[in-house]
Symmetry: C2
Subunit: 192 residues, 2 copies
């Protein structure tokens, strides 16, 4: 990674997100989300991946998973997975993630929200890429689980909102695993 | 989808692939793979998604899953998932997938293999995109589960091999769910 690469962090939020009935909920952590996003973040040179959940029992389970791969048997079984999880942390809130990034980089993170819905003022992928090249980070790119980050969150918290991924038609119900992969690839890899 | 969009099909192969010890195995089907790739294929306008497994019990389980979403309660619970699975089929071999594509389109599919390993003669993403724009399909893009499609398969079966996804460093251990998302996005979406 060159010195000119933007400092990028990922956050996977399990709260505040919608469920299918558009109620605001805290979702349960999906094991495969952590494996996929940790590997993705590592592949794309992200500095860290935050699993955000306010539920203490869920946080405990995540920490147990991380310990298994980082300290326990998992790392012997599969060293590439250990490497991927070396930059994964579980935190209670996005604020805690932002504080951790500030402690690490000496600068407050600029929070970017992603959404499958349209939002006024959302940046296109090209616009965000240009800003990441021109402006100083660190950048904390946030993904919601369930049926996505709540409107209230998106209005209040992030500095920047990224446009939805458009495929070939009107259908966009990608998994957060697929969406995060596409977003990082579009933002961080130039060679096509 | 315009009439000029290339006809693209996806195949997820559970055999012949490597396990971690580089033995040739048939892997078990992962439920989330089917959900993610069906939604991805639908989002990107693919004509079909083939789940390929030679194991009869596994094929039966996949068919039961499809029936749940297409005929059973699943479709009422979540209509967008029903839509995504409407183009998913389970077949025993890639040959059977190729035959189904030929029956549907009247032309033999051109098989593209993907791999996280380097191969002589592999096309870059830009090269394959250019060929898909200039030449007639249909295109059947194949992904391996486990630790990837075997060398023997890659040498013998596909007409074309696609270069590996490169992130920011040497690490490339993406999940097949993330890899398929990035590959389709790079091949099928031009707007950046």
């Amino acid at each position: 990674m060159g010195a000119d690469s933007p400092a990028v962090y990922l956050a996977l939020l399990h709260y505040p997100v919608y469920n299918k009935e558009r109620e605001v909920v805290a979702t349960a952590v999906t094991n495969l989300d952590l494996h996929d996003l940790a590997r993705l973040a590592f592949t794309y040179g992200c500095r860290g991946f935050f699993v955000v959940t306010p539920l203490k029992l869920q946080a405990k389970l995540v920490q147990r998973l991380l310990d298994h791969w980082l300290i326990g048997r998992g790392g012997e079984f599969n060293p590439t997975r250990k490497e991927a999880f070396s930059r994964t942390r579980v935190v209670e809130t996005l604020e805690a993630a932002r504080a951790a990034v500030a402690a690490e980089t000496g600068r407050p993170a600029r929070i970017v929200a992603t959404s499958a819905r349209e939002h006024r003022g959302a940046l296109s992928f090209g616009e965000l890429r240009a800003r990441m090249a021109a402006e100083e980070g660190p950048w904390l790119i946030s993904f919601g689980t369930g049926w996505g980050l709540t409107e209230e969150f998106i209005t209040d918290v992030p500095e920047l909102i990224l446009e939805p991924i458009a495929g070939k038609g009107d259908y966009n119900h990608l998994s957060v695993r697929a969406a995060a992969a596409i977003v990082l690839d579009r933002l961080l890899v130039q060679a096509r």
